[in-house]
């Protein structure tokens, strides 16, 4: 099993450079928005964080289906890894949103459809990770969490369409929105650059988190081998 290597370092360096470029573009290249002015630049990490969280949760969804269809542990490892990484991005969304909202709306938070459904999404994946700690048997844990994980994903389209379905405090979409919506071309380019940077971060974190699950599995197998070979020796405490 590889734990590092030149390839990994090159990828990490590339993502680090992309992050610097994205940050520079968001702060200095993107034009200033007319009404919100400087604070609007939070948009360039708030929106891509949300998109990346949705993608991570979609990976959880696919991994959970994969596990139920094949019962192969690697799908379960992918599921929990993507859930944890997705939760980090969802947390970023829930933190940057209120910081942006306070100077613009005058309030930190409101229980409108978008904000509420996003908070529920965060709670559901926290519950997914908590559920895993309550189930000791690996196969039972993977099976139950796969079903729960598929259920959790149902909130993602609800979050996405909430601003289209209901009247909300949250702004209407600027990408793929209706008539009158849209984004300045430079803003759009910077937005997608920032998304590329965050996708790079997601891939790096996901790879490491998956490796953690692989190692955990290896450790459990080794502990079992130790217990079998010499029961008087200490084995891993879960």
């Amino acid at each position: 099993m590889t734990t590092g290597g030149k390839g990994n370092w090159a990828a990490t360096l590339a993502v680090a450079l992309l992050i610097c470029l994205a940050g520079y573009a968001a702060l200095f290249i993107a034009p200033e928005e007319r009404t919100m002015r400087a604070i609007q630049r939070i948009f360039y990490f708030h929106v891509p964080s949300a998109w990346t969280a949705f993608l991570a949760f979609f990976i959880v969804f696919i991994a959970n289906i994969g596990y139920l269809a094949t019962r192969k542990p690697k799908w379960d490892w992918l599921g929990v890894s993507a859930a944890e990484v997705g939760l980090a991005f969802c947390t970023a969304v829930l933190v940057t949103g209120p910081i942006w909202a306070k100077p613009v709306w005058g309030i930190w938070w409101t229980w409108d459809a978008r904000l509420t459904s996003t908070f529920v999404l965060w709670l559901m994946y926290v519950s997914y990770l908590l559920l895993r700690t309550l189930l000791a048997d690996a196969e039972r844990r993977a099976r139950i969490c796969a079903v729960f994980g598929i259920f959790c994903f149902l909130d993602v389209p609800l979050v996405y369409f909430s601003i289209r379905l209901w009247r909300t405090q949250h702004p209407q979409p600027v990408i793929a929105g209706g008539e009158g919506s849209g984004l300045d071309p430079t803003m759009r380019a910077v937005l997608f650059l920032c998304w590329a940077a965050l996708l790079g971060v997601m891939v790096i974190l996901l790879r490491q988190r998956y490796q953690l699950e692989q190692l955990r599995h290896d450790a459990e197998e080794l502990a079992l081998a130790v217990d079998t070979a010499a029961p008087e020796l200490h084995s891993i405490q879960r």
């Binding site: 400087a38 604070i39 630049r41 970023a92 974190l205 502990a223 070979a229 200490h234």
Partner: protein, 46 residues
């Protein structure tokens, strides 16, 4: 000026979240690798 402070805080917090998570991952990986080495040594002793 206040908006710039909020903007700076938002960017700082976002990257702090990812940095702290990365640190946590690194620590957990390190602990597991040590545990695996310990178990391998135990097995070799048998």
């Amino acid at each position: 000026m206040k908006n710039f402070e909020s903007l700076f805080a938002a960017y700082l917090i976002v990257w702090a979240i990812f940095f702290v998570y990365q640190l946590s991952l690194g620590q957990r990986l390190g602990r597991l690798k040590q545990e695996i080495e310990r178990l391998k040594r135990l097995l070799e002793r048998k």
